[in-house]
């Protein structure tokens, strides 16, 4: 589905992604984990065209997409959500999702087609799916944090992607919101047959969703495989889970 070879990116002298090769298989729910600063978000930005890699290639369904701008990559069916809230704050919840549909249907240069009601049924369907149908007319910027995250998900889903990249979909959520979000993501991915690639901090989320896990550390892949195998991998335990335990111990 997604094949990445020899990806390399540095900022100044700092190597953020160091020669990463990786393959995402169709239908899998793949988590990328790693301590803070491991390069997870940079990796996403490289794959989705937000950043240009210094070396290496990204291929989506056999097509080389390295260096293409995001708006072209997304049209191929590779959508993403963001770790930090990334919505249109001064537009209504409805409009936030509607715009993504307008773009998907390539209507954004229709100057004389009124937007009111455009793609209405599908917009409402998506809002209902993520549980935002009652907030449709509210300003997106005034929503509660957890709901903005759901909106973010609805925007990404509106592009009708085949592969969905979620950057820390539950970051900043309360435990109950997190639980709800996991349930939702799993449900949607199964219902739509989505291939999922997500980064996550919260191990309950990771083990609750993923059927394969890749561990990133200092921009390198140090392990990849089934959740149980990764969990028991000694290098991972030392590098990643160990740091987590140390942090927990300190706290």
């Amino acid at each position: 589905m997604l094949k990445i070879e020899g990806l390399f990116k540095q900022f100044g002298g700092f190597v953020a992604i160091d020669d990463v090769s990786f393959e995402l298989l169709e239908g899998e729910k793949h988590a990328i984990i790693g301590p803070n600063g491991a390069g997870k978000t940079t990796f996403f930005n490289l794959v989705t065209g937000h950043l240009l890699p210094d070396r290496g290639s990204v291929a989506f369904q056999g097509e080389d997409i390295t260096g293409r701008p995001p708006h072209r990559i997304v049209k191929l069916g590779l959508a993403r959500s963001f770790q930090r809230i990334n919505i249109y704050p001064r537009m209504s919840v409805f409009e936030n999702v509607q715009v993504a549909l307008i773009a998907r249907e390539r209507q954004e240069l229709r100057f004389f087609r009124l937007a009111a009601g455009l793609c209405g049924p599908e917009t409402n369907e998506l809002l209902e799916l993520v549980g935002l149908d009652e907030e449709a007319d509210e300003l997106a910027g005034e929503l509660a944090y957890g709901k903005q995250k759901q909106l973010e998900l609805a925007i990404a889903l509106a592009e009708n992607p085949r592969v969905l990249l979620l950057d820390e979909p539950t970051a900043g959520m309360s435990p109950s919101e997190t639980e709800e979000a996991i349930r939702l993501i799993r449900e949607i991915a199964d219902a739509r047959g989505l291939t999922l690639l997500f980064t996550e901090h919260d191990m309950t989320v990771v083990f609750g969703i993923a059927d394969r896990i890749t561990v990133l550390h200092h921009g390198e892949i140090i392990a990849s495989g089934a959740p149980e195998a990764v969990r028991s991998d000694p290098v991972v335990r030392q590098v990643y889970l160990g740091e987590e335990e140390a942090a927990n111990g300190a706290a």
Binding site: T48, H50, P69, P70, H71, R72, V74, K75, A79, R80, F82, N86, I87, Y88, P89, R90, M91, S92, E95, Q98, V99, A100, I102, A103, R104, Q107, E108, L109, R110, F111, F112, R113, L114, A115, A116, G117, L118, I155, A158, E159
Partner: protein, 313 residues
């Protein structure tokens, strides 16, 4: 700026249109000229707001396209004796073409760099108007525009102007509330996200610039006719600043805000001049007050008051 044209808004528009149509009945040349000028600047400010309010960029050089429309109209009607319709069409087409070229360069940049480049291009246009004496009359201005006989009188011209402007505003309204307008708002709100839902943000900003320049050209063409002349002041940067102030005063987050701003500024200026010669001082104070207390302008204030009343019920 959301959704469809609500019934109260439509009613308000029709009322304003009827009132404007009744102005000549007052038989005051002063008022007819004043309202004609207000209408022209309202269209000018509304056009600028496509760049500011809808695409989220500030232009410091919007007068350029007003002047291009105006000079083209003046020169074609007078020097080349073209009939009205072809001259008007050419003036609009030339504004379109010029803004298309400038937009190509300006939309490569954002923020202050975008603003400065629009200013630079407008100074270029001013330079041409100033130096090309043979064609534009230079700093003496282009004096004595030949306006076709059937609209040469004050009242017929007023109605001509009203019809053209009302049509232009209606078309602009549709464009701003179209699928294009909605996508443009997304670009303003969050260009990164807009890119990630598949919108080519630079192309959208290019179109916003071109739409704005074209409609400014229409306003400029009417300006040249109503004044029977075109002057370099219309291309100079303070003119760009004036229309920017109108837009901010009226409110950039509302479609009709800039038109309200244009009317308010004109009326305020006339009123102030009755009592004092210190209009710039008053203008400065107004500007300060908007920036400090009314960042969304008069239209934003009206909306806030309406929300308060609705909440109180």
């Amino acid at each position: 700026m959301t959704g469809r044209m609500t019934r109260p808004v439509l009613a308000a528009c029709l009322t304003v249109l009827v009132l404007l149509a009744l102005v000549p009945l007052l038989e005051s040349n002063y008022l007819i000229d004043l309202f004609n000028e207000i209408m022209i600047y309202a269209l000018f400010a509304l056009s600028l707001n496509v760049i500011i309010g809808y695409s989220g960029n500030v232009s410091f050089g919007h007068a350029a396209y007003f002047a291009i429309g105006g000079y083209t109209m003046a020169i074609l009607l007078t020097t080349y004796e073209w009939p009205l319709l072809p001259a008007f069409a050419a003036a609009v087409a030339f504004s379109f073409a010029c803004s298309a070229v400038v937009a190509y360069f300006c939309t490569r940049l954002t923020d202050i760099y975008f603003a400065m480049l629009t200013l630079a291009f407008s100074m270029l246009v001013w330079g041409v108007a100033f130096k090309w004496r043979l064609m534009t009359g230079g700093d003496d201005g282009f004096v004595g525009v030949d306006v076709p006989a059937f609209i040469a009188e004050r009242v017929p011209f007023y109605y001509f102007s009203l019809v053209v402007i009302a049509t232009a505003v209606a078309v602009l309204w549709v464009i701003c509330h179209s699928a294009f307008g909605r996508a443009l708002l997304a670009v303003r709100e969050n260009p990164v996200r807009a890119g990630f839902v598949g919108i080519n943000t630079r192309l959208m900003r290019w179109w916003a610039f071109v739409v704005a320049g074209t409609f400014a050209g229409i306003a400029g063409a009417l300006f040249a006719m109503v004044h029977r002349g075109m002057y370099t002041e219309s291309a100079f940067w303070p003119e760009s600043a004036t229309v920017l102030i109108m837009t901010l005063l009226g409110g950039m987050y509302s479609f009709f805000g800039p038109a309200i701003g244009a009317a308010s500024l004109f009326l305020l200026e006339r009123l102030t001049n009755e009592y004092t010669e210190y209009w710039p001082l008053v203008l400065g104070t107004i500007l300060l007050a908007i920036l400090m207390f009314l960042p969304e302008g008069l239209a934003g204030l009206a909306q806030a008051v309406r929300r308060q009343i609705l909440r109180g019920r």
